[in-house]
C-alpha cells in the first residue's frame, strides 16, 4: 500500500489503526480483501519515523498496536495536500503484450491469434469477477464506483484485443 494513501486516510481525524483499516475497507469493499493488516502497521511505523505522523498511547497505556492513536504532523498534512494535488494515473503496460505478438509471429514461436484468445479469456474472467462483485454492492457504494472503473478499463482492454485480432487476422490472410 502506498504510504500517501495510509497518510491521507488519517486526514479526517486522529485514529486508531483499526479505524484506519475500517475506512479502507469501506472505500475498497471486496477489493480490500487483499489488504494486509501487518503491512499497514509497518507503513505506519515508517511514516512515524519519517516525521509525517505522531503516535499517542490512549488511556490504559498498554503498548499494543491497537491502543495507539495516529495523528498527522504538519509535515504529514503538507505531504497529503501535495499528494491530493498531484496528477497521476496508472500506466497500462500495453507495449509488452504488443511486442509479445510481434515476437511470436516473426519468430514463428506461436500463433498471435491464439495468444489474443488466451488473453481475452483471462480478461473476461476478470471482468466476470468484477461484475459479480459490483452486482453484490448496493447502488452508490464506494466500492461500486471503484468496481465500475475497473470494469470500464477491462472493457477498453477487450476492445483493444478485438483490434489486435482484426489486425493479425488480416496480416495472416494477406501474407
Amino acid at each position: 500500500m502506498q504510504q500517501e494513501v495510509v497518510l491521507a486516510m488519517l486526514a479526517k481525524e486522529p485514529s486508531h489503526g483499526y479505524q484506519l483499516r475500517a475506512r479502507l475497507r469501506d472505500a475498497l469493499g471486496p477489493l480490500g480483501e487483499a489488504m494486509n493488516a501487518g503491512h499497514i502497521y509497518v507503513t505506519l511505523t515508517r511514516l512515524e519515523k519519517a516525521g509525517l505522523l505522531a503516535v499517542e498511547r490512549s488511556a490504559g497505556g498498554a503498548d499494543r498496536p491497537d491502543r495507539k492513536v495516529y495523528t498527522l504532523t504538519p509535515d504529514g498534512q503538507q505531504r497529503v495536500a501535495e499528494w491530493i494535488a498531484e496528477v497521476s494515473w496508472p500506466r497500462p503496460d500495453l507495449a509488452e503484450f504488443h511486442l509479445k505478438l510481434i515476437a511470436a509471429a516473426s519468430g514463428g514461436l506461436a500463433d498471435p491469434l491464439a495468444i489474443v484468445d488466451a488473453q481475452r479469456r483471462e480478461l473476461l474472467r476478470r471482468l466476470r469477477d468484477t461484475q459479480l462483485a459490483a452486482m453484490a454492492e448496493p447502488d452508490g457504494s464506494n466500492a461500486a464506483l471503484l468496481l465500475e472503473g475497473i470494469a470500464l478499463r477491462l472493457q477498453a482492454d477487450l476492445r483493444w484485443l478485438e483490434a489486435c485480432e482484426k489486425n493479425w487476422t488480416k496480416r495472416r490472410n494477406g501474407s
Binding site: L31, G32, Q131, M135, L154
Partner: protein, 248 residues
C-alpha cells in the same frame, strides 16, 4: 445427428442464413452448430454485422434458415408450418429487445400480461403472474404507469417481466443493455443472475462484454461463424485486489 439434440433445450445444426440471392447474397449465418442446455446462460458476442441478431432470430423462430436445423426441446422447428411456428413464438420462446418494444398505450402490467394472454392463459392467471413478476423485479409500484413515464432501466424490467410471463422454455435477448447507463445495466445483470438461479434458460447476443462475462458460456461470432467458445463458470481469478494492484 448427435445425442445432444435430445438433452438440450435449444440446438442448431449446420445453420445457414443468406440474405438476398445469387452473386450479391450475404451469408449472415454461415454454418453454426450450437447446443444450449436447460438452465444455461449463453452469450454470443461479436461486432455489429457479424450475424448474431440473425442467429437469434433463427433460434427463436422469428426467421427461417436457408439451411440447417433448429431443435427446441427435442422438436424440430425450422420446417414446421407458419401456424405451428407462430404458436412456438407465443408459448415457448420470449424476446427481450434493445429498444424494449413495449406498447406505449398500455400500462406496465398490461404489457406484461399480454404475453401470457397470447399464450392462452386466463385473464386472471395472466394478471396475477404479471403482478408477481413486477413485484419480483422491484417495480410493483409502477405497474399502472405507461412506458413513457418509466426510466430506461424500468422499461427494460417491464420487457423482461413480459418475456417471463408466458413461462417460456427459452428467453432470447438482443442487446438488452444497448440503451442503458451503467447503473441500469447492473440492474439487468442482477435480473439475469436471478433468472439463472431460478433455472431459466437464457441466450443473449450482445457486444457488451459485461453481459458476456457474466454468462456460463460465451461464443465469439465473426462473419456468421462461431469462432471461439469460452466457459466462464468455475474458478475465479483469485483476489479481486490484484485488479487494482493492492496485492504485493
Amino acid at each position: 445427428m448427435s445425442n445432444a439434440v435430445g438433452t438440450s433445450v435449444l440446438c442448431a445444426r449446420g445453420l445457414h442464413k443468406r440474405h438476398g440471392e445469387g452473386e450479391g447474397s450475404v451469408r449472415a449465418v454461415d454454418g453454426v452448430d450450437l447446443d444450449i442446455g436447460a438452465g444455461e446462460t449463453v452469450a454470443v458476442m461479436g461486432p455489429s454485422g457479424c450475424g448474431k441478431s440473425t442467429l437469434l432470430h433463427l433460434l427463436g423462430g422469428l426467421d427461417r434458415p436457408s439451411g440447417g436445423e433448429v431443435w427446441l426441446n427435442g422438436r424440430r422447428i425450422d420446417d414446421i408450418s407458419e401456424k405451428a411456428l407462430a404458436r412456438v413464438r407465443r408459448t415457448d420462446v420470449s424476446y427481450v429487445f434493445q429498444s424494449f418494444h413495449l406498447m406505449e398505450e398500455l400500462t406496465a402490467v398490461e404489457n406484461v400480461e399480454m404475453s401470457a394472454l397470447l399464450a392462452g392463459r386466463s385473464p386472471r392467471t395472466a394478471r396475477r403472474r404479471a403482478e408477481e413478476l413486477l413485484d419480483r423485479l422491484g417495480i410493483a409500484d409502477r405497474s399502472k404507469s405507461l412506458p413513457s413515464a418509466l426510466s430506461g432501466g424500468q422499461r427494460q424490467r417491464v420487457a423482461v417481466a413480459r418475456a417471463l410471463c408466458n413461462e417460456p422454455l427459452v428467453v432470447l435477448a438482443d442487446e438488452p443493455t444497448g440503451n442503458l447507463d451503467s447503473t441500469a445495466t447492473l440492474d439487468v445483470l442482477r435480473l439475469f443472475k436471478d433468472l439463472h438461479e431460478s433455472g431459466q434458460t437464457l441466450v443473449v447476443v450482445t457486444h457488451d462484454a459485461r453481459i458476456a462475462a457474466t454468462a456460463d458460456r460465451m461464443f465469439s461470432m465473426r462473419d456468421g461463424v462461431l469462432v471461439d467458445e469460452t466457459r466462464l463458470t468455475g474458478g475465479t481469478t483469485g483476489q479481486l485486489g490484484a485488479l487494482i494492484g493492492l496485492e504485493d
